[in-house]
Point group: C2
Chain length 516, copies 2
């Protein structure tokens, strides 16, 4: 046994048995250790954005961390954007980043870089193993950080010589699992008192409060108190569809977000943050709340949110006997004719199977999906939480690894999809049950809107060259096939319905290029 | 005029007229400013690794910086690996990274991150514009940093409100260009004295010392003193081929590197660093120099290297009358049969046109190219300088933007190529004259070698799943076509020769998948 073996054993002893990886030379001893451990499932990503995005999707659905294996500073750097998203989603994750042997760093070899400096902005915890002596303790600290509160990004730097040195210490065992922050009875009382004062109130929630059972408790509170319950604009995972409580989200578009809070006099936060503009715009406010709106932080992101919601229900006297208002199943008719984003939304609302996992990086094109699917088959809805595009295909990949018996459907804008299209290969390699729907509008549509907001008028040559994805158009069918994923193009509503139906009936990866 | 206009004017006044970009909402005012400036050439990359890698290739061939446009912390993060390579190559570059409006940062909106923290490890200079008042001065400081010494990575953070505020100050003018470090006469004398002491000496060079004219001076020094002249293992740009001085490089493989210095008693560094192992290996040294080898740092990386070499020639009495030993043109016969890396090397040696620009990210597969092409058509040879894979396709893209009249040939390993294959689309969009040769061995071949070195024996299931790119094999012809680049596959030597010949005769992007 060497240090790498102990690292591997420590992960496995704590139930971390899935490794999303893109290794390099400095990680070869860890690769050899993984090779001696068939209990660890190793999934290769052909760029590190795939690796970290897949680990995020896995964590959201498995409810536990995966480990990632990344090659020195540049390998970590390539994965940082999706770590940013995972950090915002509070997905637990342990990143193992290989580095040169400790004694080699003095030579400033070509790949040497400040790994801690790179890791810190996107990690909740960063640590470096110094030698085989502290390897197990540092690894356990990383796992503890990943499991703390709602979940954390733990980045553990593994020098090559710590990996290859003889192991120290006995057989690893599971660490004591950190407990979430306890429910604060005083804050629950404050929220309950506010709910009794008759003022228009919004309860804003996220995280584990968005699971079906807790949503039912929230709905009882709403019925009892008249408060409105809403989800944050972006959430790591939300359960919705027929038989579940229908919940709205804070809109992305700033004027709509401002409108949605115009009548709110008090805001109760359960795991969520007070709503702010996604971007700043000249002359518009940063906070989405009206002047004078009071904010009650009932439970922070790291609290036991289902318990907090239960406590609030009890405090306001929302009886368990009160039946929650559940969405009835509503299957829309399939429209024909031109293929548009709302046709795609209706098609999904009708055709997606029960318990599908929807990974949404559709940006502008997918905004119709949410409102079309309150009564669709029950599903999990996973969003882009940090605004760093390029998560969609990896997120779907990781969710499918976590839930092999469920259909994963990726709603994928074409511009964002190009960031990490390499993830399609992993879907093929692992034969994952993912249908990717590419909304091929052949432009960064959101930026056209924003350029207009800036008052720049009609885009000229330079702006068009930066905002349009045409000339040449991307051929997603070829791209997918190049990575071993079957694919087809739809240019009409009818063709899309046929393809989606076929894709939902089969198993394995499939891509539909929806030309809209 | 607003701040973004002044930024644009300041860049243009300093001859920076090419912008590699992937913008987002916070950069819309800068996009609008670029749109008002047809003198600025804007080139879109579909991921930021393409953007920064292309800016590197541009800088190496244009001899001046491009500007990059990146979207907040995650956009910068995606480009960091190729900034790492550019930093090692000492390529001048100005990165403009958009951020939220200053007053919006307090809200910790989803895309907020520590941009300075992310930028610092891969930048020589990091600065933040605070408002329209210091916009011009900060921009000039960034340009100055990029032009200092051999070249620097300058990262300038542009808050959205500084971009949209009314401009302050008059019309921008060119800054005084920083001068390289002067030649240190004392160090030149020390080197000259060492060259006279009869000990076996290696002169190690890089940077602008690798241009054809300076190589001739170096060869006169070698002839006069008996010293050996060598280039660093990896160099940003090296001129070579028929009619030029043939120069060897320090080998990548550690045992070969150690052998190559075994007889060296003293080492003179001109712009170069003393050779070290690319990675650490158990039981092997970090320095490639034998015990007791003395090192004379004659000129640092930021010195005027051609002037330093001239001064050394004068000091040792290497007369300009002495004719340099120039490589004769040698065109090998084209072998038939199986397609192997050395067949590809010979094919290139015979068929590549005069003044081709070779962008080498072939990793293991391209090692034959260097020794096969001492007598090939004169060419520039651009290498992976920082070991962060994913530079090849972007580097070729940027070099082709800089030199529209020269053929660019990318030697591309398949594993590395997958990191930034999105760059092919930019080649199609800009109709760049690039031939990409993908060495399709369908594995991370270098890691197979390293795993063997580790003593892990035959790779098992987990190792194979992390080191092989098969099951399914990547279809590079489909991938290229999906991005609008014509492509074909070669599986025999004859087919490869035909495709390379055809690709060299035509203009515009083309990809050859060489199945080896």
């Amino acid at each position: 046994m060497n240090g790498a073996d102990i690292l591997c054993e420590t992960l496995l002893a704590n139930g971390i048995d899935t490794c999303f990886a893109n290794p390099g030379t400095s990680e070869m001893h860890f690769v050899a250790a993984l090779d001696r451990q068939p209990r660890m499932r190793c999934v290769l990503g052909l760029s590190e954005g795939v690796v970290t995005g897949a680990a995020d999707g896995y964590a959201r659905m498995a409810g536990k961390p995966a480990v990632t294996l990344l090659h020195t500073g540049p390998g970590l750097a390539n994965g940082l954007a999706n770590l940013h998203n995972a950090r915002r989603a509070r997905s637990p994750m342990v990143n193992v980043v290989g580095d040169h042997a400790t004694y080699h760093l003095q030579h400033d070899a070509p790949l040497t870089s400040d790994i801690e400096g790179l890791a810190r902005p996107m990690s909740h915890w960063v640590g470096r193993i110094t030698d085989a002596g502290d390897l197990r303790a540092r690894t356990e600290a990383a796992i503890r950080a990943a499991l703390t509160g709602a979940g954390g990004i733990a980045t553990l730097i593994l020098p090559a010589d710590a990996a290859w040195s003889a192991a120290i210490g006995g057989t690893p065992t599971a660490i004591a699992r950190p407990q979430p922050d306890p429910v604060d009875a005083g804050r629950v009382d404050a929220a309950a008192r506010a709910l009794a004062n008759g003022l228009p109130t919004t309860i804003l929630v996220t995280g584990t409060a968005l699971r079906a059972g807790t949503l039912e408790v929230l709905d009882r509170i709403a019925q009892k108190t008249g408060a409105r319950v809403m989800a944050q604009q972006a959430n790591g995972r939300m359960q919705r569809g027929a038989g579940r409580v229908a919940l709205d989200r804070v809109p992305y578009v700033i004027d709509q977000a401002l409108d949605s809070f115009a009548q709110t006099a008090q805001l109760i936060l359960i795991g969520a943050k007070a709503p702010v503009g996604f971007f700043a715009y000249p002359g518009k406010p940063g906070s989405m709340l009206p002047e004078g709106c009071s904010v009650i932080q009932m439970a922070g992101a790291d609290a036991d949110l289902p318990a907090a919601v239960e406590a609030l229900a009890q405090a306001v006297g929302a009886s368990p006997a009160l039946p929650p208002r559940l969405a009835a199943r509503q299957l829309p008719d399939l429209p024909g004719g031109a293929l548009t984003p709302d046709v795609i939304a209706l098609s999904l609302a009708r055709l997606m199977p029960d318990e599908a996992i929807i990974c949404d990086e559709s940006v502008t094109s997918g905004r119709d999906f949410f409102r079309a699917t309150y009564g669709a088959a029950p599903h999990d809805f996973l969003q882009l939480t940090g605004g760093a595009i390029g998560i969609g295909i990896p997120l779907a990949t990781g969710a499918a690894v976590a839930c092999p018996d469920r259909k994963v459907i990726g709603l994928q804008a074409d511009g964002s999809g190009m960031y990490t299209l390499q993830g399609l290969w992993t879907q093929a390699r692992e034969n994952l049950d993912v249908v990717t729907i590419v909304f091929a509008n052949r432009r960064y549509q959101i930026l056209h809107g924003e350029l207009k907001n800036v008052g720049a008028g009609q885009p000229g040559e330079n702006a068009r060259r930066m905002l349009d994805l045409d000339n040449p158009a991307l051929d997603w069918v070829s791209l997918a096939r190049g990575m071993g994923v079957e694919a087809a193009r739809a240019e009409t509503a009818e063709a899309f319905h046929d393809l989606l139906q076929a894709a939902c009936r089969r198993k394995g990866p499939f891509l539909i290029e929806a030309v809209i």
